[in-house]
Symmetry: D2
Subunit: 487 residues, 4 copies
C-alpha cells in the first residue's frame, strides 16, 4: 500500500495548526486580541498576526514570527493597530509551499473588495485547496501566499454577491474540510464553523457591548469576558454593537467534534462542549487505571501534558502521585544544538528525571499519546538510568494510526508507530515492563459518552484513531492515499 | 526603627542571584558549561557568561544578556570558546551601581596577572564589598564593573603570593559574606565555598578524566556527569586531569546552609545535603497538613513552586489534589504590558483559574512563600471570581520577615508583609478564610532535623525567617540597618 | 487653479524612482544582479529585490529594505538565489498607499501562471494605474501591494495568450505612461521600453553567452559587460542563450527621452543616446557661462551633482575652479536628528563651506537644479557666513515648474519655487547677487541638439520645464490637475 | 635586516586611528559631541563613544560600533547622555590584543578615583605602552582593555596628587609617544598635546560661555563654533565656564607636527597651523606639475583624496581637469564580497572609469600616496581597459618608506612598495608611462616652508618618508626594529 504523504515537520508530537480570536465593541481591540492570542499560544507558536479597523485609520495589519508576548506587547507596535474591532491568528506551520513559511503566509489575510476591506483567519484545513487553487489560477487569480485561506479570499473576489458576509457564504460553500473562521469587515465581526464542527469556536461577551470569538474559553478568561455559548457546527454568526445574528449556510449534518482537542490540543483550563478539558483528561486517567491496572509504587506524568491523566490514574488506583520527571521551564522551541555531542543528549535538555524519587521504585508513567515512539524510548532510558525497578507506560489516548487532514500536523503514516506495530510490539520497541493505551470506548466514556463509542454514529471525529474520515480528503486521494472509510 | 535598604527589583518574589558551573578534562568544555547553565537558569535569567581556555587560542570569553538557550547554543558563538577547561555563570541582577546591569558586570570576570590569566565567578554576596572597594580605590585600583567579584580580583592583584590558587586564598580571607566560587587558570578548575557553606557547590565526574563543579546536581544530570560529593563548607578544591586536591583555607565554623534553597531556589530534581529537594518540599506540605489541618474539597498548588508541597498536603490530609490554577507556559519574563488596561490584568497573563474545577468547592491553596502579599491577593481574587466556596492559604515556609544579605534579592524590609503584620492580619489583608505558615520547627523537620530547630546551634541559615544573621553584614550596618542578632 | 497632487516625500531634491537590472547565461546570476544594482543605487535607496531561477531550485526571491551593499552581499542570502538567470530592482519610494512602503511592494513582483512563473520589475510610472486597478478589482483581482507593477501582473493573468512574452505584450498595450521593464520566465530574460522611450534601458553582453539589461551603462561596467546597444523606444527584446529576439508591440511614435536623466538622475560615468552624461553636464556649464557670464574669483560646485557643470563653467569662463563646499562622505540618508537644536542646523551635517578658500572671494556657485529653493537659501547662508564677497548662483537646468508623472518623485506644484516666482523673485528669495538658469535651448544644445529645442517636435521629454506632457496623465486629470499641453 | 612588525589591517591605505572632541558650557553637550564626531568620522569609522556629566545623573557613557550617524543620533540613546559637559572619540582600530576590538576598548575610558570620576580619550600612540603595562601589572593593576589609554588611567590611579588635572600631568609625564588628549572631570574640560605636537588639537568657543576642543576645525564649523586657537605643543588647557587656564607640564622642544595630516588625514575644509588643508594639497599639485611636468590631454584625480592636488596640477600645467574616475557614493566599508568572482573585481565596486572621457586620451592621474601599490595597479588596469592612450601617475607625497608609530596604522615595512623599490621599479611594477612622487622639499614648500625642508631642524614629523623618528619607539626597539635615525 504505497502512501505518499509528506509533512514539513517530523518530530514526535502532534501539532494543532492554529488559534483564532476576534473582538468588537471595545476600545483598543488589538490589545484584547494580543491577550487572547497569548492565551491560545499553545495552538501555534511559529507566528501571529492581527488586523484591526478604525474609522480614521482604516484597516491596519501586523504579522510577526515568534511568540505573541515578544511582538504584540510593544506599545510601538500596538499603537499601529487602532480601532474597536480586530481579529488575530496564531499559527504552527503551513501545509504551504517549500516547507518554510513566508511572512505573507501569516494570517489574518486581508483583501480589498469593491465593497470594502475584509480580513479573515481560519483554524482547520481545506481538503480541496489544491484543486481549488488550480481552478482559480486558470481563471486569472494571482496567489500571493501558500495559505489555504487565500482560496477563500479569491472565491470571495469572484462572487457576485453584494455584501461581504454573503460572499463569505458563497466561498465557504465551495470549500471542503474542517474550519473555524473569524473574519471582519469595517463594522462586523464574523464567525463560522464548518458543518461538522470539527474545530472549536467560542462566543463570549465583554464589557457592555462587546463580543468575542475565540478558539477556546481560556482566551475569554484572560480578558475577563464571559462565556456566552459555542458557535454551533455549520453556523455563521455576525456580531455588531447591535447584537449577534445567526445563519446556517450549509447543509446540516450530525456534528463530529475533534476528540484529540480533549486529549491534547486544548488547554486544561478550557471548557468544550460543556466539559472541562482538565476533568476529561483526569477521567481518561481513571479509565486507564480501570482498564489497565498495575502494581506499582508511584504514578508519574510525562510533563506537562500527561499530568491530569496521571492524577486521575493515581486517584483511581490509590498509587501515590509524584513528579518523577521535571521539565525545564526555560526550554524554548529554539534551542539550537551546537554540536553532535549535544544533539545526542536530546530530550534531556527539556526533561530531567527526579532520580532521588524514582530510584528503586516501580513507576507508572502516564503520557497523553504515542506518535513515533522515539520520545517514549528516550524517557524510558532516562528513568531506567535513574534506577527505577519497573516502568509501566499508560497512554491517555488510543493508538494514533492515521494522519489528520483537518488541521493537525501528523507525520507520514509510515512514521506512526501504531500504524506499524501492535501494542505488544510497541511495548517491546520502547522496552518497558508493560504498556497500555486507553480504549476508544474508554476515551468516549471519559468525554461524556457514558455508553462508549456508537460505531454507527460516532459523536466525535476520531479519524486519527479509527481511520474513519468524516470528510473526503480530496487532494490526498489524488496523491494515492487509500482511505479505510469515507463518511 | 528606621531602615534604609533599597533593592533594584520590587516585585513579589525572592530571587537567587546566581548559578555557577565549571568543567575540565572534556573536549569543547564550553558546550558542557552551556548545558549546565541552562539547567541552572532558574538561578538567574538576566545574563550569562562563559570563559574557556585552549592552549592555542588562550582565554576566550563571551557574555550575553538573556537566556542561555538563546545565546550559548549558536555554533557561531560556541566556536569562539574552544578548549577543554571552561567556567560559566548565570545572574539574576546586581547589587551594582545605578540599578541597570552593564555587560561588563556579567561574570565570569577575567584578569591577566603576571603569572597568567584567571577567570572567576561567584554565587553569593560579599557583605564588606563597599568598604573593600573604597580601600582598594584609595590604593590605586581602577574598578571597571559594579560587581562584588571585582573586589576579589583586585585583592588577588595585590597579593604577593606566587600562584593563582594562593592569591585566591589570600583574597577570599579578606572578604566577608556568603559565597561559592568557581575559578580557572590555564590548567586548573578551582571551587571554593565560604566557611558557613551558605550557598551550594557540587563536585561531579564526567567521562574518564573530567571534573565538574556546579551549583546544583540537576546541572550534573544534564551532561550525564555523576555526583561525587559536595564541596564542603570552607573547602577549596583544585581539579586537574590528575585529580582533585583539597584545602581548608578558612577558620572552621559550624556550617549554616541556606534553608531557602530547599524552600524555593533549588530545582526539585536536585539533591542537597543528601536530601531530595522535591521530597523535602513534599514533606513541608505534610508538616503543614499536620500543623494546620482544614476541611476542604480540593488541594491546589500555586504553580509551579507550590506543587510538591501541595502533593504532600493532599497525601497527608487525604483531600484530593487538583490543578485548580493553570500556568501559561509561554509566559516569559519580558511580557511588556502596553496599556493601563492590560497592566491592571496583572497576574492573569501568567495564571488562569481552572474555573470548572474550583467552582463551588472549598479549596486549599498551597504556595511556597509570601513576600509582599500582593500576588496572594490577586490569586485570591481570581479564585473567588471563579466561584470557590472557601479559600484556605497554606504557606510552605515561615513568615519572611528579614532581608537576605547573602546573595538573595529581597525587597526593602518595609515591603515584607510579615515584617509588618501578624498571621491573622495577613489573612485579613489577603481576604481568605484561613491562612497558615509552616512553623520554623516544622520546616527544620521536613529538612531532616527530626528534633526541629535547635535555637543554640541552628543547622541552617534562616535569617530571612529568624533575623539571626550568621555573618555580620558590615556594609549594611554602616547604612543604619539594625540587626536583631549577629552571630 | 486648484491643484490637488500630493507626494509622499517633501524634501528639496527630485528622486528617480527605480533602477532595473537583469542577466542571463552566467553562473550565479544573482551575484551579477547585486553588483549591477549597487552601481544603480543612486536611482533608488529605499529597498531592493532580486528574483533568480534555477532548474533544481525553481524561482527564488529576496526583498530587503536598505542598501544593496548591506543586504545582497551576504553569502548566506546570496546562496538562496541560485541559477543562471536573475533580475533585480532598486526603488526610491512608492506612489503606493499610505506613504510607507511594505516589503511586499518591493519589486521584482513574482506570479505563478498556468504556463509557469514570471518575475517583473519596472522603472517608470503608469499614468492610468488607478483606473486599471479599479477595473481589475471589479473583475475579481485581489491586489497585494500598492505597486503599479501589480496591474501588469493582473492584466497578464487575465490574458488568453499562451506564452508569457505574449501576455506581457497584451498587458503593456493596456497601460499608459513611461516604463522600462525587465522580466524573466524560466528560460527568457525580457526587456521592454515604452513607445516614447522615456526611461533608459541598455543591452550588454557578458562572457561568451550572457546577456544583460540595465538602466545605465555604469551597471554594465561594474560586471565587466560590454555595451551592445540601447533597447529602442517601443521595443521588446527576448534574451536567451541562443541570442536576442526583437519585437515592436506598440504603435511607433517619435521618441521623447527624459532630459532630466542628463541633468541629474543618471551617473556621470554612464553613456546615454551615445552621449557621455558627464560631458553633457560639463557642456551645460559651458552654455551657462556663455548665457550668463559674471566677473568672479572662483567657480565652486554644490557637491556632488553640480561638479561637472562647474568644471565646464570654469573652463569656458576662465575663472578658477575650487572646492568651496565640502561634502561629508559619511552622511547617510538616515541621519535622524535628535533635537530641535540639531534639526535647525540642517544642511551643515552634509555640507561644510571651505571657509579659508571662499573668504573675501566673489564666488560662482553651480548647482544642478532648484526645486523648492530652501536648500539654495541654506547654502547661500553658509557661504555668506564664511565671508564670501559676492555669491552668483548658476543653475544647470531651466526652472523646474511642473511635476513629473513618469517615474520621478516631484513635490506638489505649489512647492516648486519656479512655478510661483520669476527668476528675479527667486534671486531675491534666495538672497544672492545674481541667479541664472540655463535656457531650454542651451540645455538642448548641451544634449547634442545643435539647433536647440524644436518646439514642434522636441527631442526629449521636458515636461518638468515646459509643462508639455507627451503622455496623458489620466489618473491625475481625474483629480482635477490642469495640464498646459497634452501631446 | 629582519623586521618583525605586524599590523592588524593589511589593506592599501593608511588610516588615522582617532578623532577626539569635547565641549563644556552648552545644554545637551552630548549632542554637540555627536555632531563633532560626525565631522571627524574620516579619522575613524570602526566605533565611537561619548561620556557626559550632569549634576543629577552623574557620569553617563555610551560606546557603539559603527558610524556616529547610525548610533549617536537616536533620541533614545542621546537622552541617556545628559549634561553640559561631554567628550567623545571615534576610532579606526586598535593596536590592541588579538586583532579584534572589544566594545570595552572603545574610548573615552572612564574611571572613578577617590576624588571623583574622570573620562579620557586620546588620539595618537604611546610608544612605551607595552613596557608601562607590564610594570603596572607587576604592581597590581588590572587591565580591562587593550587600549593604550588605559595605561594613562592606571598611572593616574597611582599618582599621589590631590586633583585630577595634577594626576593627568603626572601620568602624561611618564608616557612617550604622540598624543592629543581630551579629558573631563565633573566640572572641567581638559585638553593636552604632547611636547612635539604631532597630532592636532583645536580650541574653539561656542555660544556665550562654551568651550570646544576638537581634532580639526571642520568639527568646530559643524556646531557653529568659532576657532580660537590651537592648543600648543606641550600645552595643557583646562576649560571651565570661567575661562581657559593654560599649563606647560612637559620639557619644551621644537614642535614636529605630522606632515601626513596635510597630505591625507585631515579634511580639506580644515585649517591647521594657519593653513587651509585644501589649499596645501592644491599647492602640492602645483609643485608636482613644476617638478614633474608631462604632455597630456587630461588631469584626473583618483577620487576623492587626489582631487585638490589634481586641480592644482591642472592649474599649474594648463592641462584640462576632468573627472575621469567616478566614485560610487554608496560604497561603505562593509561591502562583504560573497564569491571569489566578485572578490576578483576588487576596486571596481568603489571606482569606475568614465570611459567616454578617457578613451584615446593621454591622462595624468593624481593620487595622494602609494602604500603597497596594488590599488595603483588596479586603477592603471581600469584606465587602460577604458582605452586611455597614455597614463602618467603623479603622487602628491614622497615615497612612503617607513612605518608610523605615532597613531597611524601602517602596514609592515616589507609591504611598503617604496621601501623595496626605486621610483623606476615602482613605475614598471604598476605599468604606467611615467610615475613621479613630489619631493620632500616640494611637500615642505607646499606646506608653507618656502625654503623646503631644513635637514637639521625639520619643521614636521616626516618619519614615514624620511625614517627620522622624533620620539624613540621603545616598544618597537625591543622587537628588533632597526631605526635609521632617532632624534
Amino acid at each position: 500500500m504505497p502512501i505518499v504523504l509528506s509533512h514539513p515537520f517530523d518530530d514526535d508530537e502532534l501539532h494543532e495548526e492554529c488559534g483564532i480570536f476576534g473582538v468588537t465593541g471595545v476600545q483598543d481591540a488589538a490589545n484584547f486580541v494580543a491577550l487572547g492570542l497569548h492565551a491560545l499560544q499553545h495552538r501555534g507558536q511559529e507566528a501571529g498576526g492581527i488586523v484591526s479597523y478604525d474609522q480614521a485609520a482604516g484597516f491596519s495589519e501586523a504579522r510577526r514570527f515568534g511568540y505573541v508576548r515578544d511582538n504584540f506587547t510593544k506599545a510601538s507596535l500596538m499603537e499601529t493597530l487602532p480601532g474597536s474591532l480586530a481579529i488575530g491568528h496564531v499559527r504552527y506551520s503551513t501545509a504551504g509551499s517549500k516547507g518554510t513559511t513566508a511572512i505573507r503566509d501569516v494570517q489574518p489575510l486581508f483583501a480589498e473588495f469593491a465593497m470594502g476591506g475584509c480580513a479573515i483567519a481560519h483554524n482547520g484545513n481545506l481538503t480541496n485547496a489544491v484543486a481549488l487553487r488550480e481552478e482559480l489560477i486558470r481563471h486569472g487569480s494571482i496567489f500571493q501566499s501558500g495559505s489555504d485561506t487565500e482560496c477563500i479570499i479569491h472565491l470571495m473576489a469572484r462572487s457576485i454577491q453584494k455584501t461581504i458576509p454573503e460572499r463569505i457564504k458563497d466561498a465557504l460553500r465551495r470549500v471542503e474540510g474542517a474550519f473555524s473562521v473569524v473574519a471582519m469587515t469595517r463594522s462586523k465581526l464574523i464567525g463560522v464553523r464548518d458543518a461538522l464542527g470539527v474545530r472549536p469556536l467560542m462566543l463570549g461577551r465583554v464589557g457592555e457591548t462587546g463580543w468575542v470569538l475565540a478558539s477556546e474559553t481560556c482566551a475569554l478568561d484572560i480578558i475577563g469576558a464571559t462565556f456566552e455559548r459555542e458557535v454551533e457546527p455549520g453556523e455563521m454568526v455576525i456580531c455588531t454593537e447591535e447584537g449577534v445574528e445567526s445563519f446556517f449556510p450549509f447543509q446540516r449534518v450530525k456534528p463530529r467534534f475533534c476528540v484529540f482537542e480533549y486529549v491534547y490540543f486544548s488547554r486544561p483550563d478550557s471548557v468544550i462542549g460543556g466539559q472541562s478539558v482538565y476533568e476529561t483528561r483526569r477521567r481518561i486517567g481513571e479509565e486507564l487505571a480501570k482498564e489497565a491496572p498495575v502494581e506499582a509504587d508511584l504514578v508519574c506524568p510525562v510533563p506537562d501534558s500527561g499530568t491530569p491523566a496521571a492524577i486521575g490514574f493515581s486517584q483511581q488506583s490509590g498509587i501515590p502521585y509524584a513528579m518523577g520527571i521535571i521539565r525545564n521551564q526555560y526550554m524554548g522551541r529554539t534551542f539550537i544544538e551546537p554540536t553532535e555531542q549535544i544533539r545526542n543528549m536530546g530530550v534531556r535538555l527539556k526533561l530531567n528525571v527526579n532520580r532521588a524519587i524514582v530510584q528503586g521504585k516501580r513507576v507508572v508513567l502516564v503520557d497523553d499519546s504515542v506518535v513515533r515512539g522515539t520520545t517514549s524510548q528516550k524517557i524510558r532510558d532516562m528513568i531506567m538510568d535513574a534506577g527505577a525497578a519497573e516502568v509501566h507506560f499508560r497512554i491517555a489516548s488510543p493508538p494514533t494510526m492515521w494522519p489528520c487532514f483537518y488541521g493537525v500536523d501528523t507525520p507520514d503514516r509510515s512514521k506512526l508507530i501504531a500504524a506499524r506495530m501492535s501494542e505488544e510490539e510497541i511495548r517491546e520497541f520502547i522496552g518497558v515492563d508493560s504498556l497500555k493505551f486507553v480504549s476508544l470506548d474508554g476515551l468516549y466514556r471519559a468525554c461524556g459518552a457514558e455508553e462508549g463509542r456508537d460505531p454507527r454514529a460516532p459523536r466525535f471525529c476520531d479519524a486519527c484513531f479509527s481511520g474513519e474520515y468524516p470528510v473526503r480528503p480530496s487532494d490526498m486521494i489524488d496523491t494515492g492515499f487509500k482511505l479505510k472509510v469515507v463518511a
